[in-house]
């Protein structure tokens, strides 16, 4: 069975940095419709800084790697996604036990629970939580059922995308979008979109070695 080694976590982070850079304009455009038009710019700045920090000082293990990413996001993103994604990586770092798929799934769940606690968002508030919680559920369930990590992460990424799509028609109840009330309906939530990219990046990298 494939394991989640430090290099694989690094590949995940780098793939996510690549994806947010590729989708930078799209994320900012989504955010300009219902927010403050900085999500793509902020995530690009944060993830570029995270990769630079990993390059400057290669971490000793997976937990150290995730912590470096967390502290960089918390410091460099600038917007609310900094503390939120930062908390996700920070809690993952604290929870990461070993390189087993089950340990990764448990750490990811701990990270998502950290996001929920930090943002005080619930399902259907139209936030990144609407993509992350279904992804954590799907991942836990698939690993628990004995599926390979790559299959489980594929299921998680699909669940994240369905979660994102399920809240597109809704009125936002958290964050800047909630200032807009009814006008936030029928827009893709930018945080949910960047969260889908995070899980897609995991599916594209982890469990493939």
């Amino acid at each position: 069975m494939a394991t989640v080694e430090t290099d694989a976590l690094g590949a995940w982070v780098r793939e996510y940095a690549r994806a947010v850079t590729e989708h930078r304009d799209e994320l900012t455009e989504l955010d300009s419709a219902i927010g403050d038009a900085d999500h793509g710019t902020n995530m690009h700045r944060g993830m570029t800084a995270a990769v630079a920090a990993l390059d400057a000082s290669p971490p000793a293990d997976g937990a150290a790697l995730l912590k470096t990413v967390a502290m960089t996001m918390i410091s460099k993103v600038g917007g609310t996604s900094g503390p939120l994604y930062g908390t996700l990586f920070l809690r993952m770092s604290g929870a990461l036990d070993d390189g087993s798929p089950a340990a990764f799934a448990a750490a990811f769940r701990a990270g998502v629970e950290g996001v929920v606690a930090r943002g005080k968002a619930e399902l259907q508030d139209k936030t990144m939580v609407d993509a992350l919680l279904p992804a954590a559920d799907a991942l836990t369930e698939a690993i628990g059922a004995g599926q390979e990590l790559d299959t489980a992460l594929r299921a998680a990424a699909d669940a994240a995308a369905r979660g994102r799509d399920s809240v597109t028609p809704l009125v936002a109840r958290k964050g800047r979008a909630s200032y807009l009330g009814e006008r936030s309906a029928d827009h893709v939530d930018p945080g949910a979109e960047s969260a889908v990219l995070l899980v897609e990046a995991a599916a594209a990298t982890l469990g493939r070695s």
């Binding site: 403050d36 502290m71 600038g78 900094g82 930090r118």
Partner: protein
């Protein structure tokens, strides 16, 4: 006399500096510690939880710190900053729900007078009262 520190968290460095200038106008000759954590390090709009935790540590003399903030990520960065502090420092910090400018002026005046942390935090929350009384709102 207590020496309570104050921290201003804002998306904008100029906004934070101007708010502090406005408050300091009320405090001639005061050595009150008012620390600012505002903006991104490239001069843009944004907040940085690591900078907030550094500012709290700098403002803390052992008598407590009251943190005033603007909106959005300033609030979540301040909460995240608490997680980065030592337990004993964290226990001395109050994150204030007061409006930034009015809360800062009210808090700074009583803090400069040697009030304790809870009094400073209460005064920040009362910051809107004079305006509400004047406008009848």
């Amino acid at each position: 006399m207590a020496a309570v520190g104050i921290v201003v968290v804002s998306h904008s460095r100029p906004l934070a500096d101007a708010a502090v200038e406005l408050a300091r106008q009320m405090l001639p000759n005061s050595t009150l510690a008012i620390e600012v954590a505002a903006g991104t390090d490239d001069g843009g709009l944004g907040t940085d939880a690591v900078a907030v935790s550094t500012a709290i540590a700098a403002a803390d003399t052992g008598d407590g710190v009251v943190v005033l903030m603007d909106l959005g990520s300033a609030v979540m960065s301040a909460e995240t900053a608490l997680e980065l502090l030592d337990d004993d420092v964290r226990a001395r910090v109050v994150l204030s729900a007061a409006p930034l400018v009015e809360g800062l002026v009210g808090a700074a005046v009583v803090a400069a007078g040697g009030a304790d942390r809870d009094r400073v935090a209460a005064e920040a929350l009362r910051g809107l009262a004079p305006k509400q009384a004047h406008l009848g709102g």
